[in-house]
Assembly symmetry: C2
Homo-oligomer: 342 residues x 2
């Protein structure tokens, strides 16, 4: 507790001095009970806790936030924390900002723009000091509002041109190119792609298309289907592909993320076919499940933890006043990981 918090205030808030007076102990003893850093006799602790309850005393960080204009909280806006990529990213971010005394506040948008907008408003209302935003729609202007208000924003993926917005992205185009190219080099000729939802992840589609073009293979529009990033969505999309006449079925599929690739493997197996014998499958992200599924996924590594760490560092450099310049971009490589599925 700071010295200030011990002074009597005129705003009606309960002070440590009042707690101490009611408990019949010194303010220092109350501080010790609150901090837990010194041993205080059980009976005294009990008396102090009773006084705290009776007066409704609350610690002082909110008041301090008001003075310093800092909430010491960063928000991370993700489609869904139960998607491993985002939980690992969040962990990397939390580990990085924790040391500087910042907490991490999580918002799940389910990839819906209206939820994203509502959360951004909420984040501003709460006075979060910084925002890490894994927006579904890279072109979303949502991030611009906090940035305009002087709250540093780090976007994950996408490309937002704004003087105060930093960007951490993984090299999805090259990663997708490498996975697709690998499927082709192994003999695939009718290569399908299970994309994310419409208007998402253009870089992964671009990498797929470049690999096809450089290999002089035609991109069959009927073999480009959308999933919703989930395992079920991937299974559904693969079923659509397998529902085509046998000679028009794909012999390989590049999936824009591992969860959909796992769903694609499900669908191939349900059809009584083999992976990679009948249909080779490539994913993207290299989540833990990529080595749990059978066959293990050939994929591109998406460095989720490092993305979170880098986002945290970019935020902290602005929050600590070490940097106040133009938006920076950090591009992390996505190396090809060859396993058994393709």
């Amino acid at each position: 507790m700071t010295e200030t918090s011990r002074k009597r205030r005129s705003d009606g808030r309960v002070t440590i001095t009042q707690v101490a007076a009611l408990a019949g102990v010194s303010p220092t003893t109350v501080s010790h009970v609150l901090s837990g850093k010194r041993i205080v006799a059980a009976e005294t602790r009990g008396t102090v806790h009773e006084a705290i309850r009776a007066l409704g005393y609350r610690p002082n960080t909110i008041a301090r936030s008001l003075r310093t204009r800092r909430s010491h909280m960063v928000a991370v806006v993700v489609p869904d924390i139960t998607n491993t990529f985002y939980s690992v990213l969040t962990r990397g971010l939390a580990d990085t900002v924790d040391g500087a005394g910042y907490g991490t506040y999580v918002c799940n948008t389910d990839g819906k723009v209206d939820r994203e907008t509502a959360f951004l408003q909420d984040i501003l209302d709460r006075g979060a000091d910084g925002i890490v935003m894994a927006s579904v729609d890279a072109a979303s202007v949502g991030a611009l509002v906090p940035a305009d208000m002087g709250v540093p924003v780090v976007c994950i993926g996408g490309a937002i041109d704004h003087p105060r917005v930093d960007l951490v992205t993984s090299d999805d185009e090259v990663g997708s190119y490498k996975v697709t190219r690998h499927l082709i080099d192994r003999g695939a000729r009718r290569v399908a792609m299970i994309e994310g939802p419409p208007d998402s992840g253009p870089a992964r589609i671009a990498g797929f298309r470049r690999a096809m073009r450089e290999s002089r293979l035609r991109v069959d529009r009927a073999l480009m289907v959308s999933g919703d990033w989930t395992r079920l969505g991937g299974r559904e999309a693969m079923r659509t592909l397998l529902g085509r006449p046998p000679q028009r079925r794909p012999d390989a599929v590049f999936c824009a993320n591992d969860l959909m690739a796992i769903g694609a493997v499900d669908a191939v197996h349900e059809e009584g076919l083999g992976v990679p014998g009948d249909v080779a499958v490539g994913g993207f992200d290299d989540v833990d499940a990529a080595t749990i599924v059978n066959p293990a996924l050939t994929t591109a590594q998406n460095p989720a933890y490092d993305v979170g760490v880098n986002a945290g560092r970019l935020l902290m450099s602005r929050l600590e006043g070490e940097y106040d310049g133009a938006g920076r971009t950090i591009v992390l490589p996505c190396p090809l990981v060859v396993r058994d599925s393709g």
Copy 2:
């Protein structure tokens, strides 16, 4: 923005009125720019944003928190958000409290008591309104401090006897009993257990021991090994078990969670042995990966999402003043899920 926030204050904070004056617009226009709920001409928006930046204006929720003594934030303390069980629990909690306007703040303790203590102090300092605590150590007294201060606490698992602490737990004893009993009913006689770290998860060990006892099988101390809840830890523990002389090896292993069970499957396969032919494997939790691993895991369902939802409801009932009584306990069942590993 509230009416109050438009009045000039004596505490040196920038008000909306000051922003409006500098921008040469009405306070109402500033409110519209901030809320985004009305359309404001791009040029006007730009001018308002410039004024906001120049004055360092920050929205008013922090000041409101001070008046209402509410931060509208609940903290969830978990060992590791990248463990699917905790990310799904967190999602259930967030979905439940979100509707009432509460944000979710995540703390990763890595199962370390000192980190847990530090986070609890931090949570109190921030003025979080409620805490959901998945402590590693059920006997941890950490939760008592916030509860003593009148901050509602919901503990996940364990058994804490405190008038203000609610408890949401899954019926781990019965779930573990069922998985172990199933392994025995399928013919296992030398059943090992990969436990969590020492002093964690007594209910799962109790269920295992009861199934062994009721089947008149001896619990071999050498077949009780500890893991650290991770896949690597499970693999390591299984290697220890497989390192024993062949006639003393287990013919089945019950693992206290699925991640360790997946690691155990890894170790059995690395030894050139089969699951369940040579060693049957049972897990606990029924995470997504349980159906991704091959063979798919026989396990007990741990209703992670429902645990989060129930924790959120218990907290909200106290925060909304609907309940102010003794600590409640909600026990959720963990049904047996039979798949191919055992």
